[in-house]
């Protein structure tokens, strides 16, 4: 494709995100105007998604130009289309295997019933891979040494409280909710990763948009860096903003102490921790939830981000 001028800007940017804790920088950036400020004359138009598939569908079919999204859907979308590019990270960590108090070793999980948010999503893959490493077999259809029953996070919390499941591998704030319901953290996912970090949310743009309007993308990144700064600089204020937005969108804000606990388990960073996404894809292949040739070579383009980081005198991030 003929490269556009490095500062070419678009008349508008359509941006998607979720009303989730792990999308806090996106929410803050939208609510406090960090994105719009950075974008200048480019009109910002936002869409809120409920789950990964809708966000992917929107990005691939050109209904949004960029979206905050989890690593699982990112990988799927890239494998299918090769038409998206991850330009930054947003959040890391914040997922754990929480189990009934009696269970203290992996071996005790044999014959138990665990939940994940959705078949083949990030946590589902993490759980299956981890179990495999512990010598416990699983199948996508729920059979094996450990039975995995994917269900919606809300149902998981209820099922755990009623003792219908023995544990669940879930993201925040549900992990904290399970702990509050008497669960014990058996595995904090970050301990499994090199450096103790793994990506939870990243920012993906349509490759076409990136090629056409590199200037706007840079503006967007600038806004993201500013929003991350706000989130990390004044967590209390950020929590208020995020909870306000969640309350407005979902009808119920999260309980404040729960939000606080969950928040402390998540790290907000622009580092996409590319290694963890790529290894996650390998894990998915390993447990049979991803098939075929998984080539993620062209997924990242971190040059614009690194340029901005360099300008700001911050450490650069790596695409491997």
């Amino acid at each position: 494709a003929p490269a556009a001028a490095p500062d070419a800007t678009a008349p508008q940017l359509r941006l998607g995100y979720f009303a989730n804790l792990t999308h806090a920088p996106a929410i803050v950036g939208v609510e406090d105007g960090a994105f719009q400020k950075a974008l200048g004359s480019t009109a910002l138009q936002t869409s809120v998604f409920n789950a990964g598939p809708a966000a992917t569908e929107a990005l691939l079919s050109g209904a949004v130009d960029a979206t905050f999204i989890g690593p699982g859907p990112t990988t799927n979308a890239y494998v299918q289309s090769k038409a998206i590019t991850v330009i930054a990270g947003t959040a890391a960590n914040g997922a754990a295997l929480v189990v009934k108090p009696g269970i203290t070793t992996p071996a005790q999980l044999k014959g138990r019933r665990l939940s994940t948010p959705q078949l083949a999503n990030t946590q589902d893959i993490a759980l299956r891979y981890w179990l495999k490493q512990q010598g416990l077999a699983t199948t996508p259809t729920g059979a094996g040494d450990v039975s995995i029953a994917p269900q919606s996070n809300g149902d998981t919390v209820n099922a755990f409280k009623q003792g219908q499941i023995d544990g669940a591998w879930v993201p925040e704030p549900y992990a904290s909710q399970l702990v509050a319901a008497g669960g014990k953290v058996l595995v904090d996912e970050k301990t499994l990763w090199p450096g103790g970090r793994f990506v939870t949310t990243d920012l993906a743009v349509s490759t076409k948009y990136l090629e056409q309007y590199p200037g706007t993308v840079t503006d967007l990144l600038e806004g993201l860096i500013a929003a991350e700064g706000e989130v990390n600089g004044d967590p209390a204020a950020a929590q208020r903003t995020v909870n306000g937005a969640i309350g407005k969108i979902t009808g119920t804000p999260l309980p404040e102490d729960l939000l606080k606990t969950a928040w402390s388990n998540v790290e907000f960073t622009v580092d996409p921790i590319a290694g963890s996404l790529k290894e996650g894809a390998e894990h998915a292949k390993d447990v049979g939830l991803l098939t075929g040739d998984v080539d993620l070579a062209g997924l990242y383009d971190l040059e614009p981000l690194n340029a901005l980081l360099k300008q700001a005198g911050k450490p650069e991030v790596s695409a491997s």
Binding site: V48, E57, S61, Q177, I249, T250, G251, L254
Partner: protein
């Protein structure tokens, strides 16, 4: 003799009649509600399930009060209703046109007759990718899903109705010189009306369900909707709000049913179909 007061069904005096009407129309649903609440409360008292999954009626109704007092909730209900009505209106036009085409033309019937039911059995979730593909992030995507859910029902109702028009009436209409559009408008549609209305009612149910599912597709910030709230309450394990929202949906459904029942009863009465009941 005609001036004498008459006894019997037609002759009861006004206040008596009102009381009788009360007994017939208000008492039974009231009893049903009371019974349902009693069973519910009993389950709660017996602690069959913990309160966070099965809250007490009082809790739910308190929450219902809070929700109804919340302008944001009312706005959400209003938004969803508006979407439902506009989607239904579009489905009405498309479904009626399709239904007439299938009912009246053998060719169209064998071409797409079964397709209608096929489309109808397709779950909303399957349409989502296509809806976003076609309509991007607009209300259009939601309406698309709603229309695809409702139009086949409406069409099928109309087709059924037209197929059941008694042949003697059709012969009579044709012998009177009825042709083309005039025949359709003056004879076929009125004759098919009861089944058509039944189709509309089913269509509304499909539209409404598709809508509540479709509202999860694109969440428009600052524009909460009923479908969205429903799934969020579920996600957040907010049982009182979830049940309160279900009650709202139930009541809306029942009100709509009453509207349909009124129309249908009017139609039946005018045709002398309600003459002999029990």
């Amino acid at each position: 003799m005609t001036a004498l007061p008459r006894l019997g069904a037609d002759g009861a005096t006004r206040p008596l009649r009102l009381l009788a009407a009360m007994r017939r129309r208000v008492l039974p649903p009231l009893l049903a509600v009371v019974l349902a609440l009693a069973v519910w409360q009993l389950l709660v008292v017996l602690e069959v399930r913990p309160a966070y999954v099965l809250p007490a009626p009082a809790t739910v109704f308190a929450q219902l009060g809070v929700l109804i007092g919340d302008p944001a909730f009312l706005a959400a209900v209003g938004r969803t209703l508006l979407r439902g009505l506009s989607g239904f209106a579009i489905a009405l036009v498309i479904g009626t046109a399709l239904g007439l085409a299938v009912a009246r033309s053998r060719f169209v019937r064998s071409a797409i007759g079964s397709l209608l039911t096929g489309l109808q059995t397709m779950p909303s979730i399957a349409w989502f990718p296509l809806a976003i593909l076609l309509f991007q992030q607009t209300e259009g995507a939601i309406l698309f899903v709603v229309v695809l859910g409702a139009a086949p029902s409406i069409a099928n109702g109309l087709i059924g109705g037209v197929d059941e028009v008694p042949p003697p009436l059709m012969r009579t209409a044709r012998s009177l010189g009825g042709r083309g559009f005039s025949l359709v408008l003056r004879v076929i549609l009125p004759a098919a009306l009861p089944a058509y209305l039944a189709g509309l009612k089913q269509g509304w149910a499909f539209a409404w369900r598709s809508l509540l599912a479709g509202e999860l597709l694109v969440i428009i910030a600052n524009a909460a909707s009923l479908g969205q709230m429903l799934s969020f309450y579920r996600e957040l394990s907010n049982a009182p709000s979830l049940y309160a929202t279900m009650i709202v949906i139930l009541v809306i459904g029942m009100v709509v049913d009453q509207v349909f029942a009124r129309v249908t009863n009017g139609v039946r009465e005018r045709r002398g179909l309600s003459a002999l009941r029990n």
